[in-house]
């Protein structure tokens, strides 16, 4: 088969060759190639799809099953006795609702704080040139790669000595350690897209630097600021280790709250835990649907999510 096709060199040298019989052979081979790659592509999608999506199916199936049918072995792959009981039980659990409110409060404050602080810093990095700027930028980038578990040990002693354990402030501040670097880099990237000429025009018109930032640049960057805020919110909402350690039942957020509610030493309430897990995931999934557009850019710039 290869003997009928032109060698690479000749094909490059004579693009007209496609009119000949050999050219038709090439086309046939290319079409066959295409078919083969289609088949390979679909097999990859199916195999990886099974790995990627079957667990999600199991999450849903368990959340909709009765506790009795969960403790059956081998498990029924297609649940027959569907129920919403696990979800209604959630809504009636006051402690879980408290965790959820804590999560909302802490993640929201974290998002606002991170965005406000990161806006100034990102603007400074993007629009000004000064000594030490690059080092500061690298410090910010590197800071999100420090080991969290170690940071937590000393944050715990620091918060403890200030009597701040079990407070919203401790959670917000500790969340900021991983949301702020990300916001700074995302916002710098967004300010980079705003042309300098606009700032110059504003200053010619007599606007002060503060005014330029607040009334001209910020509104333009608002969609990006919202995206950064959502990222920060999601990261705060998802955090497990800081909330687990720095807060008790009163101030704890949902992720560690689920552990203390459902994971017992001997028996775990799996259907309820799966239902609660879905509920925890909903705000995050909604946020990401809005964030689709920023996903790749934000990830390359800020390198989010560990």
């Amino acid at each position: 088969m290869t003997s009928t096709t032109p060698t690479p060199v000749s094909a490059v040298g004579r693009p007209q060759a496609s009119a000949t019989r050999a050219g038709r052979g090439t086309r046939r081979r290319v079409r066959k190639d295409l078919l083969r790659s289609r088949i390979a592509a679909w097999s990859a999608v199916v195999v990886i799809g099974a790995f990627g999506l079957l667990p999600v199916y199991w999450l849903l199936a368990t959340a909709l099953s009765t506790p009795e049918s969960t403790f059956q072995f081998p498990p029924k792959l297609i649940p027959t006795d569907l129920t919403l009981g696990n979800f209604t039980a959630l809504a009636e659990n006051d402690q879980l609702i408290k965790y959820m409110i804590n999560s909302l409060v802490v993640a929201s404050i974290t998002a606002v704080l991170s965005v406000v602080v990161a806006t100034y810093m990102g603007y400074s990095f993007s629009k000004f040139r000064y000594r030490g700027r690059r080092s500061l930028m690298h410090l910010v980038l590197a800071s999100q790669m420090f080991p969290q578990a170690l940071l937590l040990v000393t944050l715990y002693t620091v918060f403890s000595s200030f009597g701040m354990l079990n407070t919203y402030s401790a959670l917000v501040l500790s969340f900021t350690t991983f949301t702020m670097p990300l916001c700074v880099w995302m916002l710098k990237g967004i300010f980079d897209t705003i042309p300098d000429a606009l700032l110059e025009a504003a200053s010619i018109d007599g606007a002060s630097r503060w005014r330029t930032l607040h009334s001209i640049v910020a509104p333009l960057a608002a969609p990006g600021m919202i995206a950064a805020g959502l990222f920060a919110f999601v990261r705060g909402w998802n955090d497990f280790i800081f909330a687990l350690t720095l807060a008790d039942k009163e101030k704890q957020t949902l992720p560690p709250g689920l552990v203390s509610t459902y994971i017992g030493e001997f028996q775990t309430a799996w259907p309820q835990l799966m239902a609660a897990s879905l509920v925890v995931s909903v705000p995050v999934i909604v946020a990401f649907m809005f964030l689709q557009r920023y996903l790749v850019g934000g990830m390359t710039a800020g390198s989010v999510k560990s």
């Binding site: 999608v45 990627g52 081998p74 790669m145 080991p147 578990a149 620091v158 200053s203 799966m274 925890v280």
Partner: protein
Amino acid sequence: MSTAAPPQKAPPPRERSGARLSNGAFALLLTAPGLALFAAIIFYPLLSALFTGFFRQDLRLPGREFVGLDNFAYWLDGDFLAILEQTLIFTVGATLVPFVIGFGLALALNTGLKGSGFLRGLFLFPWVIPGVVVSFLWMWIFNANYGVLNGVLMEAGIIDESVAWLGRPGTAMLAVIVTKTWASFPWMMVMLLAGLQTVPKELHEAASMDGAGSIRRFFAVTWPQVRGVASIVLLLEFIWNFQHFDTIYVLTGGGPAGTTETFATAVYQTAFKGFDIGRATALGGLWMLLLLLLVAVYLRITERKGDA
């Protein structure tokens, strides 16, 4: 030098009134709140952690006592190598496996399958849901008594009796890596797909016309274009996994018999279960030195990419 003033790059005409600060000072002022926060909640705690490693300090007791290198010796004479080895096994496994899967999927989706946009969104799900939920879900799948994995394998006749995947030294690390793989392959897929989409289609067609087989085309056309993204993705994931905590802590807590103990779980358990802050921070210090090396490599590479 002082005589001929160099032709100044005309600074943008800033405001005439109230221009008390130079631009540099103004820019630094903007960074001040951020820097203050960074100093208070990241740099001060980390520096104090490095310092604390030289003391005997109990979380439950006030005060501390200088013990020199005792805490470091405790680890270096003890479990340090085992923990390093386990951390590396987890890190390499949880980096390479999702990379291969994510790359495969990205290549597949990049061939222009029908509905690839929808599929891309669907495959993001495992990455988007909270990490703790990922851990819960797989804990349930791996469950020794009622887990669906055991159920399916037994029905298929692959195993004869239930396996305690998370409770056996031989399988616990594997289970943890599978879980982390599930959570991170979509991210790699998105990044690599973005890289792949920058490869002009014509290049492939031309190479194909020239008789290059698919493997040859991959190495001659595709790989050079995505090499940059691939190296960043791999390195970042490596750094993150090197300090990853949640999955391991929820699934195994470092057990069974310490076979999934990594730096992250060991530091955490030593501090909050053993109450030994001195030893925890000593191990943390050793860990951070290794991480700093990785971060230095990362900065080198991003630097070369020439960000402004």
